[in-house]
Amino acid sequence: MIRKNLKRQPLILLGLLLILLGVPLVVKSNYYISILVYCLAFAGLGSAWNLIGGYGGQISWCHSGFLAIGAYTAIMIQKYLGISPWLTIGIGVVLSFCLATMIGYGTFKLTGAYFSLATMAFSEILRLLLLYFKGITGGAAGMYAPNKLKPGFGNLMFQTDVPFYYIMLIMLALVALVAVIFEKTKTGQYLRAIKDNETAAQSLGIETFKVKLRAFQLSAVITSVIGVFYGTFLGFIDPASVCGNDVAVKIGLVAIIGGTGTIMGPIMGAFILVPLIEFAGVLFGPRGGSQLLYGLGIILIVLFMPDGLIQLFRQKAWGKKEKAKSGGA
């Protein structure tokens, strides 16, 4: 069934891309465009998370950390050195690659929750460090992107959010492309085997440690690249908006709600969850009510629809359920 979907998938994705390309021609309100930018950004982030969390079943709670690395390097270097955010992408990539290696190196030799635990602790530490070095990061008060640079494409400064819409759309298309290719590579296939049964995968000679590490590094690097654009899009960053635990959960949740281990899942999840949270935020205030949804969302999905909402679109969804139940601990 997955095979059949694989053949159809590029067509669906291409159609979706065409529709999304046309959206700014119809939608003129900058507010709606900015919400769509959030949707696209989280679709991209969720897809990146999916590479390790979905295909590999290694649940990471530190993607907010990589997002923050991208966003903070972009804004800080722009502020202190006056260099275009485009040129900071490389720095964010190197940094997040090193940190992903550091987290993965020890914990991927173990199985199960150790990785999750280390990621949770890591993003917390990064948040504390951002608060501690207030002299350069702005601490809890955060910091604004400086207006030193000339507006324009080269410096990622625009009058409206439409250019960011297209940038995020291109990013999402690239991440989806990476995911399509990743599914077919050996690493991607091995990772699925690890998710199903790590011990069995190991006994077949798969170097599970290396496979998991590679997927995590890829996922982290992509996240920090999106972070650069996300940070410049926000124009103002503080530890709560890019590095908080709720951001980490939101990134994972997008993929979990849509359907982990699929290309379409995180995209669908983002376009459902982000507007819902926005709506709840308007209705109940930014904390409390809207964040209650994150928790409730996870609980309900894990209980009733472990394969995510994408399950609804699959004809043979029933065969899947059987597998989810018998998949041992």
Partner: protein, 291 residues
């Protein structure tokens, strides 16, 4: 200088007692069910609120609510278990991780909606009392929390080692399917282990009410620390959780005193990574670990 060091050591050990208590709760659940409970901090926070409710209804101070708080935590834990965790038994550990993280978010924000974001306190004359040993001051609520934590940990480890309930739990921890074949009701054992762990977190919450403000995010600071302590200590090892709890409290306090209060958790994390690299079975664990 030596006074600062001495005072930091005292404060560190006192804080370590509470860490050890929460970690014992985590380690019982972890040992028996092979589940890391990411919502432990929130159950601690609920324990604080239950104590506050008890205080608002019955009066007195925080400590006199102990029976009410325990009863409330048993109910909370049982409801949580029946509605969520029980449905996941036999599924992969990923489901546990997602569920407990979901629970932690849900509970934290549920409390925020019910009680509002403002701090609550239970006023009592004990809260600010200190006793002096030589030149060092020891805060009375911290000392009470420390002593209660030690007693509780001792009681729990005696239950695990000497009673038939403890034997059943250890057997289930060792090999669940074999225990089942031997006629042990493993689901019931899981329920008891889960409730025991949650009640310990709730009591830790009660003991903390004179020391910290009661607020929806009160548990967050204890959450990742307690989980790291369990990994440091070793799978299901109460002794490990106890010693590492004290040690982590000490390290955190020393770093906070001499470098910066913000960096205490960072030091623990670095230590955690070092242990995972060089001694993945934990400082007091024996077996190769798979969760």
């Amino acid at each position: 200088m030596s006074w600062i060091v001495g005072q930091a050591i005292i404060n560190g050990l006192l804080a370590g007692g509470i860490y050890a208590l929460i970690s014992t709760g985590v380690t019982i659940i972890f040992g028996v069910m092979k589940m890391i409970n990411f919502a432990m901090g929130e159950f601690l926070m609920i324990g604080m609120y239950m104590t506050w409710i008890g205080y608002a209804v019955f009066g007195g101070n925080g400590y006199t609510q102990v029976l009410f708080a325990i009863a409330a935590m048993v109910v909370t834990a049982y409801v949580c278990f029946r509605l969520t965790i029980e449905k996941l038994l036999g599924r992969s550990s990923t489901a546990y991780i997602l569920m407990t993280v979901g629970l932690s978010f849900f509970l934290q924000n549920l409390m925020q909606i019910i009680f509002g974001p403002n701090y609550k306190t239970i006023p009592s004359s004990i809260n600010t009392q200190s006793i002096y040993v030589g030149e060092y001051s020891i805060s009375v609520p911290k000392l009470i929390a420390f002593i209660c934590a030690l007693v509780l940990i001792f009681v729990i480890s005696e239950i695990m080692n000497r009673t038939s309930l403890g034997r059943v739990m250890r057997a289930t921890a060792e090999k669940t399917n074999v225990a089942e074949m031997l006629g042990i009701d493993t689901k019931r054992t899981f329920t008891i282990a889960f409730i025991m762990g949650i009640v310990l977190a709730g009591i830790a919450g009660l003991l903390l009410t004179p020391i910290y403000d009661i607020k929806p995010t009160a548990g967050t600071i204890f959450k990742s620390t307690a989980l790291m302590i369990v990994v440091l200590g070793g799978e299901g090892s109460i002794k490990g959780a106890f010693i590492c709890g004290m040690f982590v409290g000490l390290v955190e306090q020393l770093v906070a005193t001499f470098i910066s209060p913000d960096l205490g958790p960072a030091a623990i994390f670095v230590f955690f990574l070092l242990v995972v690299y060089f001694r993945p079975q934990g400082l007091f664990g024996q077996r190769r670990r798979t969760v």
